[in-house]
Amino acid sequence: MHQENNKAGYNFLPSKDILTSFSFILPALIIFAVFYIYPFFETFNLAMRDWDGISFERPFIGFLNFKDLIHDKIWWQSVWHAFYITLFALTFQNALAFCLALACDREIRAKNFYRLVFFIPPVLSEVVVGFVWKWILEGGAQNGQYFGLLNHWLASIGLNSLVTDWLSNPKTALTVIAVVHSWKGFGWGFVMFLAGLQVIDHELYEAARVDGADAWKTFWNVTVPMMLPVILVVLILTILGSMQAFVLVLSMTRGGPGFHTEVPVTRILWSMVTTQQYGYACALGVTFGLILIALSAALKKIEKRMTRI
C-alpha cells in the first residue's frame, strides 16, 4: 500500500520543504496555542465544574452551570442591555461618525483640526472618560445649585423639569451609558469612514454630476455603494466592541442602580470576584462567546451577500 502511494506520488512522511515551512510558522503557532487555543478549551473545561477560583478541587458537574444560566434572568437582562448599547452605537454613533467624516472630506476650513478633535475621545482612557461623565451627569444639589454640569445647564436654560439623577434613575441610566459609549467610540468610525471616503475616485462624482445627479442622488448612488465594504467593517467592529463594553459601566454605575446597567462582562466579572463562582463565570463567558461568534457569522454572511449585490 505504502509502495502504491509512493508510486502514485503520495508521501506521508513530511518532506524537508514542509518541515522548513512549518518551522517558519512554529513561533506563531506556539503563541496561538498557548494564548488562544489552550485558554479556550480550559474555559470550556472550567465551565463544567463547580469551582470557587481558589480550591484545588474542581468537581465536574456537567452542564449544570449552563442549565443555571438559562434561568438566570439577570444574565439575560444584561445581554439585552449590551444589545441596547450596541443598537444605540450602530445607529447614533455611526450616523454621527459618517456625517462628520463626510463633512471633513470636503474642503472646509480647519479640517485637520476637526480630524484631531474627533479622534480625541477614542484615545482617552475609558475609566477617565467614565469619571468625567459621572461628574457631568451627577445628581444632587445644594441650596438650589446642581452639582452635575448637565443639570446645571438644564436649570440655567429653564428646563428644570428635565433635571434628574441621570445615573441613578433606572429610566435614564442605561441610555446615558449608551450615549457616553457612543461619544467615546464615534472617533474610530469617523477615521475609518474618512479613509474610505478619501479613496473614492473623484471621477465617479464628476461623471454623476455630468449625468445630472443632484447631491442626494450622488450620495446614494456613488458614495454609499463605494463605502459599503467600509460600512460593513465599521458595523462589525461596532457590534463586537459595544457588546463587550464594560469599563464605562464599572466607572459610572458599577452595574447599578439594582441591575439596571449590568452588561454581560460585568456579570462575568461579578460572578468571579463577588460571588466566587468561577465555573459559572466561565459558563457565562462561553455562552457570551458563542453569542458573539453567531453575530459575527451572521454579519459575515450579510457582508458576502452585500458584496455580491
Partner: protein, 434 residues
Amino acid sequence: MIKNLFAGLLPAVFAALILISGCSGSAKDQSAITVWHWMVDRHEVFVELAKQYYEETGILVDFQLFAPSDIYSQKITAAAQARILPDIFGVLDVRSIFAKFIKNGFILNLNDSFNENNEEWKKSFFEKALAVNVFEESNHYGVEPGIYAVPLDVTTEMMVYNKAVLQDLGVQAPPATFEEFLTLAEKIRAEGITPLVSGWSELWLIDCFASNYAFNIMGQDKVMATFRGEVPYTDPDWIKLFGIFQLLAQKNIIDQGIVTKSNKFAEQDFALGRAAFAFNGSWGVNVYHDMNPNITYGVMPPPAISKEYPFLVWGGAGSSFVINRGTPNKDKAIAFLKWLTQKEQQQFLAEKTKNLPANRYALADLPSELYEFSKGMENSTHPTIWPAEEDLLVKEKFTKGLQSIIIGEKEPEEVAREVQEIKERQMQRAKNRR
C-alpha cells in the same frame, strides 16, 4: 535545505524559550521579602519603614502596591491559582474565602509565633484586632485552629457629622435616636443640604449599614438564624429593616444618587460640606483631612432604632497581612511582621496615616475624630467573627434589592420575597451538591 531548516527552527526555539522564561517566576532577589498590598494611602509610609528595616537588619523588603482593593483581590486569587503568591500579602475577601486560602495551603498558621515567649506578640494587640484573624476550635469552615494573619490597624464604621451644619441649625449634640435623626435630617434638607451620604454603589458598605440595623432590630441570633436558613427574609423584622431604606429615600434623607456613588465621591461630598452626615469607616479621617483640612466634624454610631438589642457597628477588622505558607522566607517574613507591629512602627504608621493602630501600646497622639472612632470598638462586631455567613449570591440580591428600594422601584415586601427565593434556591443547591 538544512540551512533553511535551521534558519526557520532557530527563531522558533528562541520564541519558545522566551515563552517559557516568561511563564516562569521572575528572577527576583530570593533574600528580599516581597509584600503585595492595596493600601494607596499607606504605601509611602510602608516604603519608608522598609528602608528603616533594611538599615537595621540588612534585609530588603519590597512593598508592591496593587490598587484598588477589588483589583488587588483579583490579583491575589489569580496568583494563588498560578502558585505565585508573594511572601506576604493580604486577603480582603469574606471569611469563607479566607478559609479557602488557608485550607488550600496558601497561608501559614502563625499560632506558634504568636504564642512564643509567653504570648508576648499576641498580647501586644487589641483583642478585637486579632479576633478577626483567629479560627477557633471546630469552626464551621473546617480550618485548623490558629491565628492566620497579623493585624496592622483597626477600623470601625460609624457616622460622621458636620459640626458647622448642625450648629447653624442650633443643634449642639448629634441625634441619639433614629426619630431625632429623622427630624434633624428633614431640617437639614429644608436648608438645601443632603442629610446623609455614603458610597452605596459599593455593595459591602450598604450591607454594613443594613447589618448594623438588622442587629439592632432583631439581635445577632436571629440574623444568624436567617443566614442558616431558619428564619426567612420575609419575616416582619427583615421587612422592617428594608423599610428603613424606603423611609430614608422617601423622606429625602439620602439622594437617589447614593446607589451609584462610590465611597470616594461620598467622602468628597462630606469633606466639601455638601452633606451633613456620612456613613464611613475610620480611614475617612485621613481622607477628609486631605480633602479639606478645615472641616470640623464629630463621630457617632448610626442612631439606634430599637432599644431591645444593642446597636453594634462593624469594627475590629483593619488591614491584616498573612504569610505565604510556601515561601522559603517564612522566618524572615515573621520577623519583619513582628517588627512592623512593634510599638514604635505602629505609632509611626498611626501618626502618618491617621489610622487606628492594632498594637494596644501604640495609641499615639491621635486626632480627636480618630479617638472617637476608636470608641466604636467597644460596641463592635464584624462578619469575620460571626458564627454563620450568608451565601454570596443571596448577599448580592439583598444589597441590590436595597438599591431598588432606594430608587423607589420596589417595595420592601417584594425585595424580601425575591431575596428569600434566592436563599431557598441556594440552600437547595447546597443540599444537592453535598
